[in-house]
Symmetry: C2
Subunit: 351 residues, 2 copies
């Protein structure tokens, strides 16, 4: 499979859906990916099993608040400096690039990087969606350690972090994000192809392209069918509370649903909980997607506005997140929600 410039618009649509409101804006990332492919040729997308067992896979992501990412552009050299730092550290070449998270701009940006570096992109990622914290990924659930973490900003600064544990990982990296102006690209969980075969979520690049095509061609109904998701509500945004604090974008969106009680969507970079009358309609790690009825696109949390007409879609998450290990890392309790996790399909059938 190859990603050509003509595929990027649909792919970005699909990544925006998988972002569950987060992962950063896809529009600028898509423009960059198209430019990178036009300059360097299309990107080979390879199965994770096709990566040589002892070759390095480099997962890349943008850390920080997506509200900042919109206005803070990269220089285009960050990826090359990341590869340089990773290769220097491990003493062997990077064989393939992978999206750390497939959701939002973070799913699209690695396409530019792969094109610029002439490297293949692995058809997998570490989340199958977007999550607000780096350790919320399948590699962590598989027991891998993230370190060293490599960060490369648009000025040319490179920082390599070897945190002693997850607490210090978050503390140091989050502080570096703030120091670098609120968002910065980075690589962590660098691993061999053999390890990637069991520690990643396979097929999510093709899933992103498939969902985007379904949405572009079949609209909301097409997306519901292709994603196995559920239309939970449709209505007008009646209130948006939002603040960017400590490197996160937090907020609550209230949607006035016609003929029903209003739906509230709780946000920490991503849409994490949709409630009606205090009862969950869908809850993290399942995906909660807000689709703008006017544009037919998934709306990132930072672009939700008063008066928008939105459809709320719940999509079952990747199976790893429903395991006890997955729920411990990224279930409702990891976000201090008082609800137990119930899969969206069960919540819908309870009605």
């Amino acid at each position: 499979m190859r990603l050509d410039a003509a595929d990027i618009e649909d792919f970005a649509l699909g990544c925006a859906v998988l972002g569950s409101g987060g992962g950063g804006d896809t529009e600028i990332a898509a423009l960059q990916a198209v430019a990178a492919i036009e300059a360097n040729g299309p990107v080979d997308v390879i199965e994770v099993d096709d990566v040589p067992a002892d070759a390095l896979v480099m997962p890349v992501s943008g850390w920080g608040a997506p509200t900042v990412g919109i206005e803070k552009l990269g220089s285009g050299d960050e990826g090359g400096r990341l590869v340089q730092a990773v290769e220097r550290w491990f003493g062997r070449p990077v064989a393939a690039v992978m999206a750390g998270e497939i959701g939002g701009g973070n799913g699209v940006w690695p396409v530019s990087l792969a094109a610029e570096l002439g490297l293949p992109l692995v058809d997998a990622d570490g989340m199958g969606r977007a999550f607000p914290e780096g350790p919320m990924c399948s590699m962590h659930v598989a027991g891998l350690a993230p370190e060293p973490v490599f960060l490369a900003d648009e000025h040319g600064n490179v920082v390599t972090v070897e945190p002693v544990d997850g607490h210090w990982y978050e503390r140091i990296v989050r502080q570096m994000v703030v120091t670098f102006g609120g968002s910065v690209p980075g690589a962590d969980f660098v691993m061999t192809g053999q390890v990637a075969g069991t520690a990643t979520i396979a097929g999510t690049v093709s899933l992103g392209l498939r969902l985007g095509r379904s949405l572009a061609e079949g609209g909301l109904a097409g997306l519901v069918e292709a994603s196995g998701g559920y239309l939970l509500a449709t209505g007008i945004v009646a209130d948006v509370q939002r603040r960017t604090t400590g490197g996160f974008a937090r907020g609550v969106v209230t949607i006035a649903d016609e003929g029903n009680a209003p739906v509230t969507v709780h946000v920490q970079n991503e849409n994490l909980l949709a409630e009606r009358d205090g009862a969950p309609l869908a809850i993290v790690p399942d995906l909660i997607v807000l689709l703008d009825d006017a544009t037919g696109r998934a709306v990132p949390t930072e672009r939700v506005r008063f008066g928008q007409r939105l459809s709320v879609l719940g999509i079952p998450c990747a199976p790893v997140w429903r395991s006890p290990g997955g729920l411990a890392v990224a279930g409702p309790t990891a976000f201090d929600y008082p609800h137990a996790y119930v899969p969206v399909e069960e919540l819908v059938s309870r009605g």
Copy 2:
């Protein structure tokens, strides 16, 4: 030359003098150095010219505010992790340890590290005193780049920083210091023995020991003679203004000099400017040392207290700091003082 446990008390006295009020407290560093020597044997102190031309010299320092350093002890493993990070990066062994700055606890701490690692200590440093900012060192004046900068905290975290320039060096490292609780040990300007031969200030470990011995045996008069310094004032501390902000300890000390107008000493981690009636008595990069008449010891800025009886000593700095390049890096204008630099011996002769 060797540093044995019995030498440390005098060496620490001398480093406190060279600290010009800064470089961190020497008392805890001296206790650590004695313990490390008793456990591992004395430390060989070698001439910089005796380091093999292609072997690595690792300058080490404690970054951050000395007011925090007093209360925040290390774990004793930081040095080993720094060596590990440096050796991994450069792909060859560290042959010798060097104090990044000889002043204060930062001059004494490398003795512990050398003892624990079984490595020699180079009889040189990068400042010949203490300065508040890492780049204010002879290696910088010689045109070397500091990066990569290696930081290792007491929890086991290691961060490797490759800043794009001096501005980002300060910004990133200072932020890491704050993240690590206000002080953290680190290594930068790692260089070969050949480079160290021209880029460092030679003989400052033996100078520290010599000054300490002179002070212990001959008191203030002995120190004045051994240091080539000048007694500028003697009096009681009448006022201390102090605040720890942005990783620095800043302040102004007013000393009521008997029979003369009061002397004010301006502090940014170190004593940088001594004035009487608005005219400089001594100014950075020359050393300004406050000696406690009761104990006969140099007082670090964070231990200056109302009512102390102090002698103010001005000592000519290492020649590199009086060159145009040295003054550009660490002269009065680098600290935004309105005075031109005049050597302390000229200020004294103007009287």
